[in-house]
Each structure stands twice: as C-alpha cells, then as structure tokens.
C-alpha cells in the first residue's frame, strides 16, 4: 500500500513538474517568437521600434524613477535652449525670476539660487548682472515627458524655405532682430535638415507647463516656443494666428522675452 501511494505521489509529482516545465517552455517560446518579431519589425519599421522604446523608457522612468535608455537616443524629448531676456524699466533694476515646472532640469546658466530664483539686476538694454557676473540672458534646458503639444494649427514648411519663414514669423510674433537672429542660428540648421517641417508655436500649453513668475510683476511678457516635426512630404494644416501669442505685449517698462523650442521625433 505504502509503495503504491509512493508511486501515485511520484506520478503526480512528475505530472506537476511536467506541467511546470511545459509552461516554462511555452513562456520561453513566446519570448523567443516575440524577439524574432521585434527583430523583423526593427529592420522593416525602425521608427516604430524607436517610438515603442521611447514610450517604454518614459513609462519605466515614470513608475520607478530609473533612467533607462534602450536605443541610445536619450529619454524623451527636451525643451531646448529657452533663453530669457530681462529688460529693466531702468538700469540696474532688481528682478526676481522663477520657473516652476515638473520637468527634470538638464542645464541652467547661471544656476538658480537655493530658493529657485534667478535674482538679476537688469539694464534697459537687457544686460544682466547676477552675482557680480555679467550675462546676456538666463538660459535653461529641461526634459519633459507628459506634455503632448498642440499641432492642430501651424505651418508646413519646406526645409529650404525655413530661413524666410523664421525671419517673417519671428518679426510678426514680436521678437526684435537681435533675439530673432539668435533664435534663427540655433534652429535653422535643425529645420533645414528635414525635407519638410510641421511647425507650431505653442501658447497656453507651454505657459502652463513652464510657469514663469516675475517680481515685480509685469504684464509685458512674450514667450515664444516653437515645436516641430520633420516629415517627408507636405501636409495640410490650418494656419496659426500668431497675434494670439504676442497678445498685447509691449516693450515698455520691465519686460521679458523668452524663446525656445523642441524637436519632436
């Protein structure tokens, strides 16, 4: 009897093991075929894989705070080179500038103080003194992950026409020539690289995600943020009304001008 029981137990043990092994085999098989699929998709549609990698990276970063980079292209898009010009109402005006965002800051120059402020002395011509050193402007750069920019209106511009486009539009938005020049030399090479670009200047979404507070308060703040995607051929898009971005910005008293942008993949 005992022997029989042992046999039965042994059999059911073996059965149990077999089931475990088979299920492991199935999982391994599934993984294998998935990898083969990924490899095939990778060769046929590299952009799809890049997109999936980027979203995965961002999801992992979101959940665990761990920074992973599957395909070596960085994690998520970045807000590149926003520079903030501060023009004082009179020479040497003391101004406090604060930027509130949930983004990971990548770089800032000069560095903000411990309270998160840039405390500047601003001249009328925009020259800044911060901690006894002279600066042309305040510069910051960050990486965002939970913003989907508005491309419902904008422009579709041929890469080689970017020069004229920027010259015209930046003037319309209200940048002066010096600011526009710096904007152009920064973004023109990136725009010209693409066959066509879908370009949209962001307004509310940008201002909400990157809250800029100025002390003393001023209503004369112009924030220009250009988002663009490289595309292969021309598409139709409803033209954007840039006067909304300018609003009633005037170069009077204390005023702030900021420009930056982001290239979306």
């Amino acid at each position: 009897m005992e022997q029989n029981q042992d046999k039965v137990q042994g059999k059911s043990k073996k059965k149990g093991k077999l089931i475990v092994l088979i299920s492991i085999g199935a999982v391994v098989g599934a993984l294998l075929s998935m990898l083969v699929m990924v490899a095939i998709i990778n060769t046929l549609f590299p952009n799809v894989v890049r997109y999936v990698c980027n979203s995965l990276e961002m999801a992992i970063n979101d959940l665990t705070g761990v920074v992973v980079d599957f395909n070596g292209d960085g994690i998520g898009p970045s807000s590149d080179k926003p520079v903030i010009y501060v023009y004082g109402a009179e020479d040497g005006q003391e101004v406090k500038v604060r930027l509130d965002t949930s983004d990971e800051m990548l770089c800032e120059y000069p560095q903000r103080d411990e309270d998160g402020y840039w405390k500047v002395k601003a001249d009328k011509d925009g020259r800044l003194i911060i901690d006894e050193e002279e600066y042309n402007y305040i510069f910051w750069e960050s990486r965002y992950k939970d913003v989907s920019w508005d491309f419902s209106k904008g422009y579709c511009i041929k890469g080689s026409d970017s020069r004229e486009f920027l010259e015209n539009k930046l003037e319309e938005i209200g940048l002066n020539r010096k600011e526009a020049n710096e904007f152009i030399v920064y973004w023109l090479p990136r725009l010209e690289k693409n066959e066509y670009n879908l370009i949209s200047f962001q307004d509310e979404l940008y201002k909400e995600h990157y809250k800029l507070s100025i002390e003393p308060e001023t209503k004369n703040t112009l924030r220009v943020y250009m988002t663009f995607k490289g595309i292969e051929s021309a598409v139709k898009i409803e033209e954007q009304d840039l006067s909304k971005i300018k609003g009633d910005f005037k170069r009077e008293g204390l005023y702030i001008v900021e420009w930056g942008g982001s290239e979306l993949k």
Binding site: L35, P46, V49, C53, C107, R163, P189
Partner: protein, 280 residues
C-alpha cells in the same frame, strides 16, 4: 532524475539564446537609430549642396521641381547611407562657428571669405555666389548685409573630416564644465558676451557626459577652414573647442591657452570666432 537534467539543460540553453537575442536586438536597434540619424544628416548635406549649386535664384521653385529634388534626395540618400554605415567614424561636424567682426570706425565695408574643402551645411546670412560675405560693420560689432538687414554675427556650420590634435588639453568632469569654461574662455581672450554665448551652446553637451577630454585646436582647424578678410585684418582670434566623452579621468598634458590668443588685441578691425566639434 536524468529526465529532469535534460529539461534543465534545454531550459538553460534557451535562456542563453534569449539573452543573446536580447543583447543583439538592443544593439541592432541602436545601430538602426544611428544609421537613421546619418541618413537624416546626409540628406541635409545633399540639400544644402543642391541649394548651393542651384543658387538662390531657384529657391522660388515650383511644385514640380520640388518633387524632382526630393526624389533625387532619396536616391542619393541611399548611396550615402551605405557609405557611412561602412565608415561612420570619420564624419563629424564643425558646429556653430559664429564670427564677430568689430571695426574701429562705423560703416566699414568688409569682405569675409571662408575657404574649405568641407561641405557647408548651413550659413546665416548666406554668402554670395563666390562664397563671400559682404557686410558693413560698426564699432559695436553689429553687422549689416548689403540689403540693409542686420545680423549679430556671421554663422556657418560645416562637415568635418580632419582628425584633430588631442596631444594636449584638459580632462574635465562634466559637472565642473561650467567653471572650466568660465576660466578657459577668459584666458583665451573672449569677452564676456562672446563667452556667454559659447557657454550656453556647449555647456549642456559637456554636462551630459561624465568626463570630457577637451582640446582647443589651432592650426589643424584654421588650415582646414581658412578665413580671409579684406581689408587685411591682423587681429583675429579663432577659438575651436573639440571634445570627446570619456568614462573616467585620463592623463593629458595641459594645454597652454595663451598660444591660442597669441598676439590678438581688440584694436582696429578685429575678428573673433568661436565654434567646436564633438568627436565621437
């Protein structure tokens, strides 16, 4: 027991295969993105080349021409990407050299030409058909083209195939780049405004790396991109920073930055240029 061993062995082997495949999969994904980037860049070069060849007149081209040029681009893109996938280490960029021109008198007419074998990728303002910037400069450094449009400086960007000199330089921790640049650029002779623009362009790229090997180039750079100015200009300062990402501190003989400054003085008609290149 024997029976189980076989299963364990099979399991082990399949785990190994999965591991290998994952690694190769990730690697090939990396490669694909690399090749893609190169394709984008090479198409940019084609385009800039085309627009240079055809001159500015053609810019107002009709839709039909647009289509034609895009198909041209596609075919040449394929060729070039093949070339580059074989040998993509050679390919670097001379990024954002900007040229400031300062004059001792207002309204001075100056011609600046850049002689190089390299492919130009972008320029602002555009040079004329002979490759010359013809501008009028003022004491404050503002530059006006012949149409009366004002510029802060001349800007250009080009491909680079020269191998740069890293025999002397600096090995700097990414997080120390700020202080390093502040000091080094002062030593070289940039004024605060120029240094500020240099720093905000390069600082994010330096800080992104754990450590950098940094070397400021002299002859290798100035010979490859020969800058000529008419009327003759004695005081020319050309700053070109090359850097490589390194994993940890490495020993390198310290570079004497006063060599770059030389006898440069901010007197008379003088020219300041800064740019750089990230070496892979």
């Amino acid at each position: 027991m024997k029976f189980n061993f076989i299963y364990v062995a099979i399991l082990g082997i399949s785990c190994l295969i999965v591991g290998i495949l994952t690694v190769t999969g990730v690697q090939s994904a990396k490669n694909v993105t690399k090749v893609n980037n190169i394709q984008v860049e090479s198409s940019a070069r084609n385009e800039s080349n085309e627009s240079k060849e055809s001159g500015e007149v053609k810019e107002s081209s009709s839709g039909a021409e647009t289509k034609e040029s895009s198909t041209n681009n596609e075919t040449s893109e394929c060729n070039e990407s093949e070339e580059h996938s074989i040998d993509n280490n050679v390919y670097e960029l001379a990024k954002k050299p900007v040229i400031y021109i300062y004059s001792d008198v207002d309204d001075k007419y100056v011609e600046v030409s850049l002689d190089t074998q390299e492919k130009m990728l972008c320029e602002y303002p555009k040079r004329d058909e002979n490759g010359i910037w013809k501008v009028v400069v003022n004491r404050d450094g503002s530059v006006t083209d012949l149409d009366g449009k004002e510029y802060n400086y001349l800007f250009w960007e080009a491909e680079n195939t020269v191998e740069y000199d890293f025999s002397k330089g600096f090995c700097i921790k990414g997080s120390d780049s700020r202080e390093f640049l502040d000091k080094a650029l002062k030593d070289i002779g940039l004024n605060r405004k120029e240094a500020n623009e240099f720093i905000i362009y390069w600082l994010p790229q330096l800080e992104a790396n754990e450590w950098n090997l940094i070397s400021f180039q002299t002859d290798k750079y100035t010979e490859n991109y020969d800058l000529r100015v008419h009327p003759h200009c004695d005081n020319m300062l050309r700053v070109f920073m090359t850097f490589k990402k390194v994993d940890g501190p490495v020993e390198i003989k310290k570079q004497d930055l006063s060599d770059i400054k030389g006898n440069f003085r901010r007197e008379g008609l003088h020219i300041v240029e800064w740019g750089g290149s990230k070496i892979k």
